[in-house]
Amino acid sequence: MKLDDKLFLVRFNTDKLSHIKITNPDICLKQCQDKPCTRFCPAHVYDWDEEEKRISVGYEGCLECGTCLIGCPYGNIDWKYPRGGFGVSWKNG
């Protein structure tokens, strides 16, 4: 089963505001060689945008595990919890 199909099953109360910020996009472009965030995030929130030369952040699909905050080798992902009432809302848990 593809990840996209699985993520389609997850319920979200999507906020208009993103709760994730790349602190310094220059680090992703110039220092970070292999972009591990594009792999370790279980929801594939992070993707390398080759045209714009930056990490695109699909915060709407964030499962709120916190892996990115710890996994980014440069500590360059400013991940917080979404505002109260927003974000993922599990059906089973």
């Binding site: 916190g66 892996t67 059906k91 848990g93």
Partner: protein, 430 residues
């Protein structure tokens, strides 16, 4: 600013247990939860232990939304398509006093929150606590994300979960490290009740668990798990984040890898995936437990790293830590002394209980596995090969076969290596 005796941050098992025990002795208690209601942000494998839960809500099994009482626990070791399994089964575990149940947290935590409300706890939902409020060194309340959202408290109990933002801000914990958390993903796969019971060899309503080591995580430090619910199966896999990143795995690929194992595939056959979830598990153990208290503040549950992964115990450690914290908060408030010294009674009681005793007992385990990443690669292979040789009836005389097995073992690991591993394991686990 509204004032409470006790503010609990986070509506999971630790926070709700804390709130219940404080409210039961008359404390004006509030739980602040960021989800729609307690449960919607919460994930675990999920096995709930009877004894600890019973201490928070006596005879909870008569009413709580539980899935199945666990009567069989299997441990599997995978090597490619091969597997070795051991199981313990006792049908007596299907009735009182039970040992453990499978649960789904959205249902269970919501029910536990209802018990808290019955005990007099107020629950504020859809509200994120952004900061603690201080008066000098004393924690005196919380700042929420709502307008005019400051709330005052004599004691704040921090049950924010594994992502320890507030504990770090309060100077009690360090930020988490990729070596001390396991990224875990899980699927809920629907199957008819009868199918589950047939496949797991269960009588009506009974449940089973399987933990899978070795190739279930592609040899990385971690574990796969399969738990039976009423009409679904929870299947998941967790691996320590550092090796997962190092080996370029995605969590979902690792889960699909586990699901593709022949034995696992057969158990799940025909099921329909209902939900995909992810969560971090605090695996730091004793050495990573933060400072558990300061003036007016107590730290409980996952935020306190209270997790015994070897025995797959977490929810019970969370609930007992919460219960003790609620009691200590109430006693301190009644004695009009919420100093750091008064709060320390919480840590003392936690040390006297199985919670910190168990973590202390396994205190070398994390480093042992971190320093020996070959363990979950080498040994499943050695054991599988040995058993296969032993069971293969091809006319080889058994004496020769035994020599062959010894030779194979030593080809995979030297005598020095074996000795080191056995000594290391003995020191880390016993």
């Amino acid at each position: 600013m509204e004032n409470f005796d006790v503010i609990v941050i986070g509506g999971g098992p630790a926070g709700l247990s804390a709130a219940i025990s404080a409210a039961q002795v008359g404390m004006k208690t509030v739980v602040i939860e960021r989800g729609d209601y307690p449960g919607t942000k919460n994930v675990m494998g999920g096995i709930l232990y009877t004894k600890a839960t019973d201490m928070v809500v006596p005879e909870f099994w008569k009413e709580a939304p539980l899935e199945r009482p666990i009567i069989e626990q299997r441990i599997a070791m995978l090597n490619g398509d091969e597997s070795i399994m051991a199981a313990y089964r006792d049908p007596a575990w299907a009735s009182e006093p039970y040992n453990a149940h499978s649960i789904l947290r959205v249902k269970f935590d919501r029910w536990l929150a209802l018990q808290a409300e019955k005990a007099g706890v107020m629950i504020i939902t859809e509200t994120l606590v952004e900061n603690l409020l201080y008066k000098g060194d004393n924690v005196v309340g919380v700042r929420t994300g709502r307008a005019e959202g400051d709330l005052g408290a004599k004691v704040v109990i921090l049950a924010e979960g594994v992502n320890n933002f507030l504990a770090v801000k309060a100077g009690l914990a360090k930020p988490l490290k990729a070596e001390s958390v396991a990224i875990t993903v899980k699927e809920i796969i629907a199957l008819p009740k009868e199918t589950i019971e047939d496949r797991f060899c269960l009588d009506e309503g009974q449940g089973a668990t399987i933990e899978l080591y070795g190739d279930s995580t592609a040899g990385m430090m971690g574990v796969g798990f399969i738990y039976t619910n009423k009409d679904s199966i929870s299947i998941g896999v967790g691996a320590i984040l550092a090796p997962l990143i190092h080996n370029n795995w995605t969590p979902n690929d690792l889960l699909e890898y586990l699901k593709s194992k022949p034995y696992v595939k057969r158990l799940l056959h025909g099921g329909e995936t209902k939900e995909y979830l992810s969560h971090l598990i605090p695996e730091g153990g004793y050495t990573q437990v933060p400072k558990l208290h300061r003036q007016g503040l107590l730290v409980v549950g996952d935020t306190a790293m209270l997790m015994n992964s070897l025995n797959r115990e977490g929810s019970n450690l969370a609930m007992i830590s919460g219960k003790i914290a609620g009691e200590v908060a109430a006693e301190s408030i009644k004695a009009d002394d919420v100093s750091d010294q008064a709060m320390m009674v919480y840590e003392t009681r936690l040390r006297d209980s199985f919670v910190l005793k168990d973590l202390h007992h396994y205190r070398h385990m994390g480093k042992f596995f971190e320093n020996n990443p070959h363990l979950l690669r080498a040994y499943p292979k050695i054991f599988s090969n040995a058993v296969k040789l032993y069971l293969t009836a091809d006319g080889t005389p058994k004496k020769e076969r035994q020599k062959e097995i010894m030779k194979m073992v030593l080809q995979n690991r030297s005598i020095g290596g074996l000795t080191k591993d056995i000594y290391g394991a003995w020191r880390a686990l016993l």
